[in-house]
């Protein structure tokens, strides 16, 4: 869109152009006859008219006429003409300025209109794409919410209506369905809320200095059941510095990464968790021996509601499609990065960093005597 910069800049431009024509013509006047000079001024007027609106064009033609008349038409340095045929030249200059000016204005209007139309089209295209995405998200989300709810309702209504007719093991199975599916719902709702908190900026990061092992320990305890088929190895160096992080959020990152492993890696395959210091950050790795993630999906997996799938031999994923997006949100909120380590030959290796923005606090050392402590 052209802002309205016509008023005085355009008039200045017109004066500039005609001035240049005048200077150039004066410099080479010996080699020109009067018709050439008139043509040069006409050229100036055409240039002005093609660039600017009608006002500046008329100004340009008037200026040209004045210059031409005073400097190049006898009597020199005097207004007025000896030969009346010059009057026709002047009139033509004026007419050309007006006609060209109108033409330019129309062209400009059309260009503006075309640009505006293109912009409107683009907006519409983006709106349609995001509308499609929203529809897809909604339908996948409502499927995710309805499936466990349907299972719960089915199992619970059977229990409520036909209790006496059911064998004890059937009753137990139904009750377990209710339990399992309500846990699935809980996870999903928790993830949705977490995502909302991240996106609305309502997530408060409460940092404190802590050993990494602690949050990891909480996550591993929480996932004891989920990870029962995956032997977990933890390798943390003794001298790993304390990190400044929100323990509840950090635990969530571990939980989401490990749930991901449990979902995608076949039973029996191990998980390896490690960490090390690298310059001003602590790098943490969660690596599995599952089917891995295709190169072209390495970024996509962090997208909201993206679900990896299609890996053979693995059950269809039951995740919310939010886990890794939440991880990325939490890690960024800590000033770190999370990525899928490329070039891993087997399985998938997620890495994230927690930057060491300040030096960890120093603890006053305790004398290492192991004698009888003062107590109580």
């Amino acid at each position: 869109m052209t802002p309205i910069q016509r008023p005085w800049t355009e008039y200045l431009g017109a004066i500039g152009i005609i001035g240049t024509v005048m200077a150039a013509t004066l410099a080479v006047r010996q080699h020109l006859n009067t018709i050439d000079v008139a043509m040069l001024f006409l050229l100036g007027v055409v240039i002005v008219a093609s660039r600017y609106a009608r006002g500046p064009s008329i100004l340009a033609s008037v200026l040209s006429i004045l210059c031409f008349d005073v400097l190049f038409v006898p009597p020199y340095y005097h207004l007025g003409v000896v030969d009346s045929s010059y009057l026709l030249t002047f009139a033509m200059m004026l007419v050309i300025a007006v006609v060209m000016g109108r033409l330019t204005a129309r062209l400009r209007e059309q260009a503006d209109l075309a640009r505006e139309l293109a912009e409107r089209n683009e907006t519409a295209r983006v709106a349609m794409a995001s509308e499609r995405l929203r529809t897809a998200l909604l339908s996948s989300l409502s499927h995710d919410l309805r499936t466990p709810l349907g299972a719960i309702e089915g199992a619970a209504s059977t229990l409520a209506d036909q209790e006496e007719d059911l064998a004890p093991e059937v009753r137990r199975e139904l009750a377990e369905t209710v339990l399992e599916q309500s846990r699935r719902m809980t996870r999903l709702v928790a993830n949705l809320l977490e995502m909302m908190r991240l996106e609305t900026g309502a997530l408060a990061v409460r940092r404190s200095w802590q050993p990494l092992e602690e949050s990891l320990g909480v996550a591993l305890l929480r996932l004891e059941h989920t990870l029962r088929d995956h032997p977990v190895t933890v390798r943390l160096p003794q001298d790993l510095p304390l990190i400044s992080a929100d323990e509840v959020l950090l635990e969530q990152v571990f939980v989401n990464l490990l749930e991901n492993v449990a979902r995608h890696a076949p039973a029996g395959t191990p998980v390896c968790i490690g960490a090390w210091r690298e310059e001003d950050t602590v790098v943490i790795e969660v690596a599995d021996q599952g089917p891995g993630i295709r190169r072209d999906e390495e970024e996509d997996v962090f997208r909201k509601f993206y679900r990896g799938g299609g890996s053979e031999g693995v059950t269809t994923s039951q995740g919310s499609g939010l886990g890794l997006a939440i991880c990325r949100g939490i890690v960024s909120a800590h000033g770190g990065k999370i990525w899928l380590e490329p070039g891993v030959t087997r399985g998938a290796a997620f890495r994230f960093t927690i930057p060491m923005t300040a030096a960890p606090p120093v603890l006053m050392s305790e004398s290492m005597d192991t004698g009888v402590p003062p107590w109580p």
Partner: protein, 231 residues
């Protein structure tokens, strides 16, 4: 089912939650008294003299935390607060106001029963010595002679590590906030120095736990404190 079992006061505004919890409490021999608001809770606490109170922090009439404080004035019964994940600050505040434990929604019945059992266990008065021998998760602590064993092997703890362990044993099964432990072990000046506690807890785990990153005994309660698991 004994009618004379301990009385549980269930303070919860959602009828569905009360209906879900009632049968399992009764099945475990408790008498259940219910309240849907903070005001009812106070009346019931004064009138029925409950042995333990389950209090949902998200009550409709006013701040659940205020109710903790007011309940504390009318009864000595232990209060277990129930709150959602992500409300760690409220949990800590409730514990500082005198609640004795907390449960995070959603919780299982097994967890609830365990908390109630611990809450009903008489607390030790300050001068009173705990049982001389503590055993759990392969760890044995002789509190009389201040000796600690993992399996058959004696473990040497620094004085601070031992004080920390002994404080947790004294309140075993119960959550202890960071502040409570820091004040007990390091003194009031250290109440905010949470990293001391975390580092020493890490050291204790490395000396006592088989897998320090998957503790069985010294359990972290995220953003709240620690709990020594004894069952």
């Amino acid at each position: 089912m004994a009618v004379t079992g301990p009385i549980v006061l269930l303070v919860e505004d959602e009828v569905e939650m009360r209906r879900a919890l009632r049968p399992s409490l009764r099945a475990n021999g408790y008498q259940v008294v219910e309240a849907g608001t903070g005001r009812e809770a106070l009346a019931q606490a004064a009138g029925r003299n409950p042995d333990v109170i389950l209090l949902d922090l998200g009550l409709p009439d006013g701040d659940g935390l205020l109710v903790v404080g007011e309940l504390r004035r009318v009864t000595k019964a232990p209060i277990i607060v129930i709150s959602a994940r992500g409300q760690e600050r409220d949990k800590v505040a409730a514990l500082d106001l005198g609640a004795s434990d907390y449960l995070t929604k959603p919780f299982g019945v097994v967890e609830l029963q365990a908390r109630i059992r611990v809450a009903l266990r008489p607390a030790l008065s300050p001068g009173e010595a705990p049982e001389p021998m503590f055993r759990a998760a392969g760890v044995r602590v002789d509190l009389q002679h201040r000796r600690v064993f993992r399996g058959e092997e004696e473990v040497h703890l620094t004085p601070t590590e031992y004080r920390l362990l002994a404080s947790l044993i004294r309140h075993r099964g119960r959550v202890m906030t960071h502040r409570q432990l820091l004040e007990m072990v390091w003194g009031a000046n250290y109440a905010e120095q949470t990293h001391y506690l975390r580092v020493y807890m890490g050291q204790l785990r490395h000396k006592l736990e088989q897998e320090p990153a998957r503790p069985r005994l010294l359990i972290t309660e995220p953003a709240v404190g620690y709990r020594l698991r004894d069952e």
